[in-house]
Assembly symmetry: C2
Homo-oligomer: 516 residues x 2
């Protein structure tokens, strides 16, 4: 997820020991050589009926000024590309000037970067301009790309020669080891495909950290990591990657000890100057989920104090009335939904996290904290029910606003329970108002709320409807944002910067595995 937060003169507090431990856990990257399955010529926008020309003899096809070749690598991959070029005609007397465009989807391939004026940096657009001074030549592109399609446009050669693309390959990178994966089938082609697509989405985001998206923003976010870790634990089981990411969040924090929403993990690890109320709490949840999988004493010892800090800090943001202060609720992410009131959902995230905190405290023998958080959880829940839940209508209303997110988090935090919760969740199926869900991330928590209510059939239907519709639209990996009713929508002002392999959308692979 991208977010713009700017704190002038922000200097994160780094803990060398924790960062050193994270460094020791840097994963091996598994690599495979993938070659394109074929190619086609793109005329303006992609249209399978009229403009596609499948090429049998790519190697012998000469290209000259203005022509293009689109290579199709068969599915979404992440890695580094090498190409071999030769020429036809006279000895090249001028450099060939090429444009490369890497695209995750056919829509992205058809976008014109010059027409992009959205708010996310155009630096993310996967385009390169390259001169070939000597031909024949082997060209290795050092940068990593996330793509299925590679469009090569010959901006110029010279009248004396034409360019041949002799060979292309991508050396993929991922810290997911597909050999570790158990074969799984749900006896249903669509569900199998959804599971496989979720796993590919996760694997392509599993790099040296859990990246949110391998195209954009390539960053480690707590909220995304929590979901990735869940799916990883049920599939590739690279538990050290989860541990590494937890240590990275712990190792570079806000000066006052808060866990940042995001940590930059390049040459120097550095917390982003972005703090999100809910994302900081997901550090607590993710630590507890990691420990329940591994029982890792070292991680418990090193990281529990930091989890405790997050809960204590969040509790300090609540008033005597047991309600989270409104400015802190506004610091929660919850979902991209425009105008979403976050008071109820943010309070519920804290209530839910206190449960994780209690389990962590018990694991650590910290009975004082466990008791305090149990009591705080009850106090906050009571205040939330009083403030947000309208029993007569069986609805959660946050500062006058009805939203899907508020209902979902109210169910997850046990504000609404039993038959009321079932009824409430069922009622959401037909919701068509302005405060629905924008992202697969929000849809994940919606599924978790359905499952909490035992609505397994409804959850499965929703997986087929929502994630299935991405596959029906041609997805090789699941997207960052998706509205089945408006497939061309981009939250960023242009599909060219959309992230079409985004980890927070991969959870059906976990849900299907765990619940079906």
């Amino acid at each position: 997820m991208p977010l713009i937060s700017i704190i002038p003169n922000f200097h994160p507090k780094n803990d060398a020991r924790l960062l050193e431990r994270a460094e020791q856990l840097r994963p091996v990257l598994y690599r495979q050589i993938v070659q394109p399955e074929g190619g086609f010529i793109l005329k303006e926008r992609y249209s399978p009926d009229r403009e596609e020309i499948r090429l049998q003899q790519l190697r012998e096809l000469p290209f000259t000024k203005g022509q293009n070749l689109c290579l199709d690598f068969g599915t979404h991959i992440v890695g580094r590309v090498s190409l071999d070029f030769a020429f036809k005609g006279s000895h090249p007397d001028a450099p060939a000037f090429l444009k490369f465009k890497f695209a995750e989807t056919l829509d992205e391939l058809s976008e014109n970067s010059a027409e992009y004026h959205g708010w996310i940096s155009s630096g993310w657009i996967q385009e390169e301009y390259v001169h070939l001074d000597e031909i024949p030549t082997h060209l290795h592109l050092e940068r990593r790309y996330a793509f299925r399609y590679l469009k090569i446009t010959v901006l110029d050669t010279s009248p004396k020669y034409q360019l041949l693309v002799r060979h292309a390959e991508c050396r993929t990178e991922s810290s997911a080891d597909w050999r570790r994966l158990e074969k799984r089938s749900y006896g249903d082609a669509e569900l199998d495909r959804i599971s496989e697509t979720g796993l590919r989405t996760l694997a392509n985001c599993m790099q040296e950290v859990y990246e949110d998206g391998p195209k954009r923003d390539r960053r480690l976010w707590t909220g995304d990591m929590r979901l990735q870790a869940l799916v990883n634990a049920s599939s590739f089981r690279n538990m050290d990657l989860t541990k590494r990411c937890l240590y990275l969040f712990a190792g570079s924090r806000f000066p006052d000890g808060r866990v940042a929403a995001c940590v930059f993990t390049g040459k120097h690890t550095e917390a982003d100057d972005t703090w999100l109320f809910d994302y900081a709490l997901f550090f607590v949840d993710a630590l507890e989920e990691y420990l329940s999988e591994t029982g890792d004493d070292e991680a418990l010892r090193d990281l529990y104090p930091i989890a405790r800090e997050q809960l204590q800090y969040s509790l300090s943001l609540c008033g005597d009335d047991g309600l989270l202060k409104s400015e802190s609720a506004a610091d929660a992410f919850i979902d991209w939904t425009e105008g979403l009131d976050k008071a109820a959902a943010a309070q519920c995230v804290l209530i839910d996290s206190l449960g994780y905190g209690v389990r962590l405290a018990e694991r650590c023998g910290d009975s004082v904290s466990a008791a305090r958080w149990r009591s705080e959880q009850a106090r906050l829940r009571k205040a939330a029910v009083k403030s947000f839940y309208r029993a007569e209508e069986n609805k959660v209303i946050s500062n006058g606003q009805f939203s899907v997110a508020s209902q979902v988090w109210a169910v997850l935090a046990d504000l609404v329970e039993g038959e009321q919760a079932v009824e409430l969740m069922r009622s959401l199926a037909d919701y068509d108002g302005p405060y629905g869900m924008m992202t697969p991330y929000a849809h994940h928590y919606y599924l978790m709320a359905l499952l909490k209510c035992g609505l397994k059939a409804e959850a499965l239907d929703h997986i087929r409807y929502y994630w299935g519709s991405m596959i029906r639209a041609g997805a090789d990996t699941f997207f960052e944002a998706w509205d089945p009713k408006d497939p061309k929508a981009s939250p960023y002002g242009g599909a060219i910067v959309n992230s079409c392999c985004h980890a927070w959308s991969c959870t059906p692979a976990y849900i299907l595995y765990k619940y079906y």
Copy 2:
């Protein structure tokens, strides 16, 4: 010089022994670190009065989307550039996307590459697009550029940070060793400046071969080499470079033994499928000039047979009337002048070359060839006088056309001699017709004809007028093409592909040294 000749299925004849010798002679490249002297911000087109802002504190100046910084390296240089970037603001959350434009002149800096639609490959335009994935970073650009100015345009950063250009440097490359150069002064600031500019032009073209221009086309041409070798012999005296280039021309030729106008000298040496009548003969002249400097027996033994072949081939193109056949004359270059009739000039180039051939044959003890070429020279000169020279008007007319080139070559080939030649050369000073000279290359032979006639003052005046006007227009090195009356002209449809450091323009440094 660029030229488009295409011979389908052309396979040059390579001589492994000669090419191996050329390889052994590959020169050391001398390198220097050059840093920019300052910078300025470019608004649309360069204007010294209004838009230049000299920057004292480049290192601290933050750049964001759409802004640019032009670095001025003080004079024309050839080499590879490294830059250090840092940031201001929050930790970069997106790649910086930059455009680099290297320009030899301020005119080139102001040109818009999107508006270039000329016939020379736009692959020569010195522009790059670069993403910085990590900042701070050290960026090394692998390609070699010829430039004085580097414009860095920040296409995008992100709202979270601004870019700082902390350091820039160029590691220059040249096979000219400035330490070998004797200090020279003509007691005249303008002439000293012209000489120095000629030497810089030569040095920047002296790479692993004599390149015609280090920006474009970076190629070894016989006609250009001959002039470069003359200047080099009178200055840097890297005689092995001349020898290497002669061996390269000898080592890869047309299948029938002809010396190509140009040889590609990248990974594999390969003659271009371009043959020019006069350029092939300049191999003979250049060999003789090299031997007169060095007395190199090995080169004489290896290369004389090839020089002999060129003369014999050229003679075979003449008819019984002693005149070069018209289709062969059309294969001469002479100059870029549009519509130039080349019959007289081409015939004169051959007559002149036969003189060089005679001296080579004598050096080799090949008295048979020496005698034959002396006799052929007389026969061809006689036919030329009869066919082209109008004694009553003291003019050379080539198929009805009066051109400067025809007069110049007639004087150089002794078609016109003594007082007639002096008078003819004097008459050219006022020539303003359609068949004047287009290039410094043609102006060189004009100077040689003046000097042959003893017109030293006129030659000096012409150097001041023609080469001096380039300097007055801001030249740091001399240009490929130059018309003092139309400084903005480009023979290629856009100044952005002009070569403003072009070796065939460097000869005043030799002429001043040798004659003044």
